[in-house]
C-alpha cells in the first residue's frame, strides 16, 4: 500500500447516507479515492472490473450496505468471500440494521467487521474515523 493511492468502494443505495460517509472519509486525509455504487450488481461489476468499470483497480476496503437493489448486500459479500483473490479485501458491513439475523448472516459470510450506523452524527463520525484508521493504517493486509 505504500505510496499507492488508497481506494475505498462504498456500496450504499441511500444517497444521503453515502454523502455523509464520504464527508467523513474526506476528513481522514488518507483516502485518495472513494467510489460510490448504489446497487449490488454495480459493486460486483466494479470488483471484477467489468462493464463500465473495466480496468479499475481493486479497492483496499469495501464498505457494504446490506439492503441493496438488484443484488443483495449479503450476496455481494458471499461472492467476494468465495473468490480467492477478492476475499483478501476487507469488507466492512455498514448498515442501519442491528438485527441479529443480519449480523449473523454477515459473519457467516465472513464479513471482516459489522458496523451499525448510529443516529448521533458525532458517534457516526468517530466510528467511521476509527474504522478508517484501523483498516487503512494499522491493519496489515497481505500483499
Amino acid at each position: 500500500m505504500k505510496g499507492e493511492p488508497v481506494r475505498i468502494l462504498l456500496v450504499e443505495d441511500n444517497t444521503a447516507h453515502a454523502k455523509l460517509v464520504m464527508i467523513n472519509i474526506k476528513e481522514y486525509g488518507i483516502v485518495n479515492e472513494v467510489t460510490h455504487v448504489t446497487d449490488g450488481q454495480a459493486a460486483l461489476d466494479y470488483l471484477y472490473a467489468k462493464g463500465e468499470y473495466e480496468g479499475v483497480p481493486s479497492p483496499h476496503l469495501v464498505l457494504l450496505d446490506l439492503r441493496l437493489p438488484k443484488v443483495d448486500g449479503l450476496e455481494v459479500l458471499s461472492t467476494i468471500k468465495n473468490d480467492e483473490v477478492l476475499r483478501k479485501i476487507p469488507v466492512v458491513v455498514l448498515t442501519t440494521s442491528t438485527s441479529e439475523m443480519d449480523i449473523g448472516k454477515a459473519y457467516d459470510n465472513h464479513a471482516n467487521a459489522y458496523l451499525a450506523k448510529p443516529i448521533d452524527f458525532e458517534k457516526f463520525s468517530n466510528m467511521l474515523k476509527s474504522m478508517g484508521f484501523f483498516w487503512l493504517c494499522w491493519n496489515v493486509s497481505p500483499e
Partner: protein
C-alpha cells in the same frame, strides 16, 4: 321348599309277568306244597271234624308227614295203590288201598297231581273194612297203622267213609290246583332269580358307570304314574327308594323347582303329542339335601301296541357344574359384550380368513349386523362393505404376518372420515395366532383440530414472520432517515461554524427529503394497520365496471406513458368490500404502469379472468420490465421495494395481498424478469353466487 315324601306303594306290575314265561312242570316237587299253610289248615280242620287221621304219602309209597299228628308208621310201611284201586271204591280219584303189613287194614287215598304228574298221595285212615252182612252198611273202623293194637278203631259206616273220602278228594283236587299255582310261581321265581343275578350284574355295572357319569336312566309310564329309575337316577335326585327302583312320577315332578316345572311339562306334553324326542334342562331340589341341581334330560316317547304314547324313556344327567361354568362364561361373555358395546369405537374380531367373527354395536356400520355374536354368513370384512379386495395396507393382514400389533391412520372411504386403526394379535395357549382384533377410532375431530392447528400455526408463523419483517423494516426504515437528518444537521452546523455556506442548501435539501420519506412511510404504516380492521359490508361488484372506474382514475399516468389497457375477457361479479377491492386493481394497474419501462410496441396492460380448479382467477398482465424470479415472494412483503430509486414506499403489493386474503383469496406473480416480457399478477376472487342472474 317343602321336602317331599315319596310314596313307595307296591306295584301291580307282576300281572304282566305271567304272560311272559312258559310253565315248566318238571321243576316241581312235593316240598313246594308245604308252603301252603292255608291248604294244610283246611285239611287239618277236615280231619278233626271227621275224626280221621290224614297224611301225605310220597309217590314211592312212603309216608311223608302226618297231618293230624297221631299216626306212627313202621319203617316197612309202604302204601301201594292196587291196580284196580279206583274200581275198589268206585269213586273218581279215590281208591282204597291195603296196607302191606295188614290185609285187614285199608286207607282211603287220593292223589295230588299237577298236569298228570302225581306229586303225592293224601291218605285217610286206616280203616278196617268189615263186610257187613247187612248189605250196604258195613263198618269201617278207624285204627292206626299198628293194626291189632289196643286202639279200637271207631266205627263208621261205609257211607260215612265214602263221604269223608269224597270230601278229601275235593280237598285234594283243590290242593292240586294250589300246587299247580305254587309250582308255577316257584318256577318263575327260580328263573327270575337267575335272570335277576345276571340283571344285577348288568345293573351294577350300569349303575357304576352311570354314577361316574352322573347319569341316570328313567322310564315313566304315562298311564299309571309309575316311574322306573336306575340307581344312578335316584342318586341324582337324592332319593333312596325302599324295596324297589321306582317312585311315582308325580313325586318326581314335585322335586322340580316351580320356575322350571311348567316348561318341563310343556316339553313332555309336546313330545307326547308328537310321539317324538324330548330334551330339556331343568332344576330340581334334591330330596336329601335340598340342593339345587341342573338336570339335562334327553329321551323319547315310546308308544304302546295301540300306537298311543305309553311311556317316556330318558337319560338324565346332572349338569350343574357344567351349567355353573356355562353361567360364569355367559356372565363373562355378557360383561365383555356390554363392555365392547359401550365403546363408541369400532371393534372387530377377525379370523385368519378376514372373516368378521364378532363386532360391537359401533362395528355394525362397517361389518354388517352380527349382533347375535355370530357372523354365520362368514362374510369377509371388506365384502360386507361392498369391496372386492382387501384394503391396501390392511393392518389385520400385517398382524397375521408379523404377530405384532399394527396401526395406521388413514382416511376410510367407507366411513368417510379419518380413522386411527389398530390391530392386535390374539394367541391361544400354545402361542398360535388365532385371531386379530381391530380397533377403529374416528379421529375426524382430532384431524380437523390438527388441521386447524396446523393452519393456525402456519398462519401465525406467517404473521410472525411478517411482524418480524415489519419490525425490521420499521427499525431500519425509520432509523435511516434519522441518520440522514441528524447527520446533515451536524454537517450544516460545522459548515456554518467554518463559514462555508456553499453546500448548506444542498444539505438542507437532504434533510427535507429524509423527513418527507419518513412522513410518507408513517402514512403507509397507518394504511397497513387499517386493512384487516376496517371492512365495509360485502356487496356485489361488477368488476367490468370497477376496472373502467380505475382506468378513469389512473387516466393521467396511463396517458403520460401512452399505456393501453385492454380488458380481454368479461369479468365476473364478485362479493366484496368495494372500496378495498378497488385498491387491488388500482395498485396492480398503477404498479404495472410504474414498471412498464420502454417496451418496443408501447406499454400495454391486459386484464381478464378464467376459471381454474373451480376458482375464478383474475389477472393483470403488463409488458414491462418484469420481476426477477428470486424476488417473486419478496415483493409481497411489507416495504419490500425492489428498487429504492423508484417512487413509493413498497407497501402497495402487500396491501393488495392483504385485501385479496381478507376476501378469502390468494395472489401470485409470474414473470421471467426479462424486460419486455413483463409481469402477470393472478388472484382469486369471491364470485357472487347468483352471478349468472345478475349478469
Amino acid at each position: 321348599m317343602d321336602k317331599i315324601k315319596p310314596d313307595f306303594s307296591p306295584p301291580e306290575y307282576l300281572r304282566d309277568i305271567e304272560n311272559r314265561h312258559e310253565f315248566d312242570a318238571s321243576a316241581l316237587n312235593f316240598g313246594h306244597l308245604f308252603d301252603f299253610r292255608e291248604t294244610k289248615k283246611i285239611l287239618e280242620r277236615f280231619c278233626h271234624a271227621n275224626a280221621v287221621s290224614c297224611f301225605f304219602i310220597n309217590p314211592d309209597g312212603r309216608p311223608i308227614k302226618s297231618l293230624t299228628g297221631v299216626l306212627k308208621f313202621n319203617d316197612d310201611f309202604v302204601l301201594k295203590p292196587p291196580e284196580d284201586a279206583e274200581a275198589t271204591l268206585g269213586e273218581k280219584n279215590f281208591f282204597s288201598v291195603i296196607c302191606s303189613g295188614n290185609p285187614n287194614v285199608s286207607y282211603g287215598v287220593t292223589t295230588i297231581s299237577v298236569q298228570g304228574k302225581i306229586l303225592a298221595y293224601v291218605a285217610v285212615g286206616p280203616v278196617v273194612l268189615n263186610n257187613h252182612p247187612e248189605g250196604e252198611r258195613f263198618d269201617v273202623s278207624l285204627c292206626d297203622d299198628k293194626c291189632g293194637s289196643e286202639n279200637i278203631p271207631a266205627k263208621i259206616t261205609q257211607a260215612e267213609f265214602s263221604s269223608i273220602c269224597s270230601n278229601l278228594s275235593l280237598i285234594a283236587e283243590q290242593m292240586s290246583l294250589f300246587a299247580e299255582q305254587k309250582m308255577l310261581y316257584s318256577s318263575l321265581f327260580v328263573k327270575e332269580r337267575k335272570n335277576e343275578a345276571v340283571l344285577r350284574g348288568v345293573k351294577e355295572r350300569l349303575s357304576r358307570s352311570q354314577e361316574a357319569a352322573r347319569v341316570g336312566s328313567v322310564e315313566v309310564y304315562l298311564d299309571n304314574d309309575v316311574l322306573w329309575g336306575s340307581d344312578g337316577f335316584f342318586k341324582l335326585i337324592g332319593v333312596t327308594p325302599d324295596g324297589g327302583s321306582f317312585i311315582n312320577y308325580t313325586a318326581f315332578c314335585s322335586l322340580i323347582i316351580p320356575e322350571d316345572r311348567q316348561r318341563h311339562n310343556e316339553v313332555i306334553n309336546k313330545a307326547t303329542a308328537s310321539l317324538g324326542q324330548l330334551q330339556d334342562v331343568f332344576r330340581i331340589r334334591r330330596a336329601d339335601n335340598n340342593e339345587e341341581r341342573y338336570l339335562l334330560s334327553a329321551g323319547k316317547i315310546v308308544s304302546g301296541p295301540d300306537g298311543k304314547a305309553k311311556k317316556i324313556v330318558a337319560i338324565i344327567q346332572d349338569i350343574t357344574e357344567r351349567k355353573k361354568i356355562g353361567l360364569q362364561l355367559e356372565n363373562t361373555s355378557r360383561l365383555l359384550n356390554s363392555t365392547l358395546n359401550a365403546i363408541p369405537d369400532i371393534i372387530g374380531i377377525f379370523d385368519d380368513n378376514f372373516h368378521v367373527i364378532d363386532t360391537n354395536i359401533a362395528g355394525r356400520v362397517l361389518f354388517g349386523n352380527t349382533a347375535d355374536g355370530k357372523n354365520t354368513k362368514r362374510i369377509r370384512c371388506y365384502e360386507s362393505s361392498g369391496m372386492v379386495q382387501k384394503c391396501t395396507n390392511c393392518i389385520v393382514e400385517q398382524v397375521y404376518q408379523s404377530g405384532e400389533p399394527a396401526n395406521l391412520e388413514v382416511f376410510d372411504k367407507r366411513l368417510n372420515c379419518w380413522v386411527d386403526k389398530r390391530a392386535y394379535p390374539v394367541f391361544d395357549k400354545g402361542g398360535n395366532l388365532t385371531n386379530v382384533i381391530e380397533h377403529i377410532r374416528d379421529i375426524s375431530d382430532r384431524k380437523t383440530t390438527e388441521e386447524e392447528r396446523e393452519n393456525l400455526i402456519s398462519e401465525l408463523r406467517d404473521k410472525n414472520a411478517e411482524l418480524e419483517r415489519f419490525n425490521y423494516t420499521v427499525s431500519h426504515d425509520l432509523k435511516s432517515p434519522l441518520v440522514t437528518i441528524t447527520g446533515f444537521s451536524s454537517v450544516i452546523e460545522a459548515e456554518i461554524k467554518d463559514g462555508n455556506y456553499e453546500e448548506i442548501a444542498d444539505f438542507a435539501k437532504e434533510i427535507k427529503l429524509a423527513s418527507q420519506r419518513m412522513a410518507s412511510f408513517l402514512d403507509d404504516l397507518l394504511e397497513i394497520s387499517r386493512i384487516g380492521r376496517l371492512t365495509n359490508p360485502s356487496e356485489a361488484i361488477d368488476l367490468n365496471l370497477m376496472v373502467e372506474e380505475v382506468k378513469h382514475m389512473l387516466m393521467g399516468v396511463l396517458a403520460e406513458k401512452s399505456i393501453r389497457v385492454c380488458v380481454e375477457t368479461s369479468l365476473p361479479v364478485v362479493m366484496a368490500d368495494k372500496s378495498r377491492f378497488m385498491e387491488v386493481f388500482l395498485n396492480l394497474i398503477d404498479n404495472a404502469a410504474k414498471y412498464i419501462g420502454t417496451p418496443e410496441n408501447g406499454g400495454e396492460i391486459k386484464i381478464g379472468s378464467f376459471v381454474k380448479d373451480g376458482k375464478t382467477v383474475c389477472y393483470v398482465k403488463d409488458n414491462g420490465i418484469g420481476i426477477n424470479r428470486e424476488a417473486h415472494k419478496r415483493i409481497f412483503h411489507l416495504f419490500n421495494q425492489i428498487d429504492q430509486t423508484a417512487k413509493g414506499s413498497g407497501v402497495g403489493l402487500s396491501i393488495v395481498k392483504r385485501i385479496v386474503e381478507v376476501h378469502g383469496g390468494s395472489i401470485w406473480v409470474e414473470s421471467e424478469g426479462v424486460a419486455g416480457k413483463g409481469t402477470a399478477f393472478y388472484f382469486t376472487v369471491p364470485v357472487a353466487q347468483n352471478e349468472g342472474e345478475t349478469k
